[in-house]
């Protein structure tokens, strides 16, 4: 008898994505959809997509979604969650969205310990607008607005938002992962699961930062982009559990 070993997750719509080859968004959308299905929260989850490449997330992830103005995901999610405290509310935001124009909203939602989950996609550039420098662009990285590479004392240092958020007392669980290899994809899925569980248990603010390749704007092939993220980005943004006050075992059993 045939056994189905792989299928489209219940909460992923039957649609081809508009994402470029090698982009991390499609993998991440799938992981979010898988986790929502496995946790059995698909009928009470509300997502908040950002401005940026992932603005069309509502075409792919099959739960209720409300689009936020650029950077305002955490504030908008706060409004939804406070009105409907028994629903599961997540925002899905890029690095420019969350760590530049939306820094204030993010830090204060975290500080209030809003029971929301944030999926923070870090690809080190403004993807949809054509590859400009993002707050997360690493030192020396080329972008359309740092044509000779990012120079910290001119362009600012790479912002490590996750570490900054870990200082806020309202944050409970923050982990940085990547989607550059099967192993890292599985770690990312476990992190997203834990982040949603943190919210289901009403513990406080949870966030997963995911290093995600942007081959088009990095001007690399998908394979090279994944390697660059693993070898170069992780020097500035090491993959690790940044904060975990959930009291449950972490990725490596500790």
């Amino acid at each position: 008898m045939e056994k189905k070993v792989f299928e489209r997750p219940r909460y992923l719509k039957k649609a081809s994505t508009h994402y470029c080859p090698g982009c991390g968004h499609s993998i991440l959308h799938r992981l979010v959809a898988e986790v929502i299905g496995e946790l059995g929260i698909g009928e009470r989850t509300i997502g908040v997509p950002p401005a940026g490449c992932a603005v069309l997330a509502y075409d792919y992830i099959d739960v209720d979604m409300g689009e936020a103005p650029h950077g305002r995901g955490a504030a908008l999610a706060t409004g939804i969650k406070r009105v409907l405290p028994d629903r599961i509310v997540f925002s899905y935001q890029g690095d420019g969205d969350i760590a530049a124009i939306g820094t204030a909203e993010t830090i204060h939602a975290a500080n209030r310990g809003e029971r929301i989950t944030v999926i923070f996609v870090n690809n080190g550039c403004y993807g949809m607008t054509g590859g400009q420098m993002a707050p997360t662009t690493v030192t020396g990285q080329l972008s359309t607005t740092t044509p000779g590479g990012r120079v910290p004392l001119r362009d600012g240092y790479p912002v490590d938002l996750s570490e900054m958020l870990a200082v806020a007392k309202g944050t409970v669980y923050i982990e940085r992962t990547s989607v550059t290899s099967p192993k890292n994809i599985l770690r990312t899925k476990r992190a997203i699961t834990k982040a949603f569980r943190t919210q289901i248990d009403g513990l406080g603010f949870s966030l997963v930062e995911v290093l995600s390749p942007c081959p088009t704007n990095w001007k690399l092939s998908p394979v090279e982009a994944a390697r660059w993220a693993e070898e170069t980005m992780t020097k500035t943004y090491p993959l690790k559990v940044i904060k975990d006050l959930t009291g449950t075992p972490g990725q490596d059993g500790n």
């Binding site: 509300i46 908040v48 603005v55 099959d62 979604m65 689009e67 999610a77 009105v83 599961i88």
Partner: protein, 367 residues
Amino acid sequence: MSPSRSIVNEKVLMRGSHVIAESAIRAGCRFYAGYPITPQNEFTEYMASAMAGLEDGTFIQAESEIAAINMVIGASMAGARAMTSSSSPGISLKQEGISFLAAQELPAVIVNTMRGGPGMGNIAPSQGDYFQATRGGGHGDYRTIVLAPGGGQELADLTGRAFDYADRYRTPVVILADGMMGQMMEPVVLHKAADPAELPPKPWKLSGAAGRPSRYIRSLLLDIAQEEERNWKLARKYDNITREIPRAESYLTEDAHLVVVACGTAARIAKGAIKRVREIGLKVGLFRPITLWPYPKRALCELSRSVREYLVFEMNTGQMVEDVKLSLEGRGNVHFYGRPGGSVATPDEVAKVVNSLYHRQRLEEES
């Protein structure tokens, strides 16, 4: 300071800002987010205490005006009657969010207690934000309903109506007040608290896709044909609003040779001026728009059958005067008197302007 919600049908003495806040709660508002700014802090403070006393009420002191309006967007998506408030510079910061509310067809009520501007300006009463309020205010092709209470009882009446309009038309509604109106203590009869079960259902809201397909609320429409159609859809809605809700008060206009057109606090000052000039026999009346968008064009036009001279009085350098001219389309002479930057004219000052205009136009010879 907060009257028991069981008080109905009796007069209570309340500060204007508290009347709007209490009336909002009685209208079923259960979500408020705001940021400190003078001269409207009493409003936010009232909401903090009032929401704390309600099991299903949420008050958030937001980190910014921008965060506050975006919290309201989220709360509105989730189906709550939601509100924010601020004063002029803060309202400028909220405009992106108001544009999103209009595009996403979400109901919300925004109170602007106007102060002197531009820039930081001052904290005195002003009507400098008339254009911003009545022309949409943010980016894109949209309008917001704009209500201009005259103070007192109307603050209670129009606040309830603002929430009803917001829900009925799924659009943001702006209540345009000013610092004087917010501070003044006046007797009002508060409305009885709305029964949550009788508030309009919101079949479009986001609640989690239980037993139905998932849905989304968005404003991005990359397809040009779809975006054009959305704009036309909004335009049709605005046409309906323009037909259905214009409202104005006419005072002593029946025999008037000269009509003063003024709204909000300026209209109260004008009323005082008209009482004074009536005492010396001048036939002067008042036309007071209550909806600033849609502008009560038809009612003003009808006046032009018997009235030729109009004096527009505003607490700015001349903004509503354009709507008066657009409404009359040449069927009258439109004059203007304004005091901008937080200056508040006295009734005597306006009476002098009326008197001088009356004689300059030789209106005493008409009767």
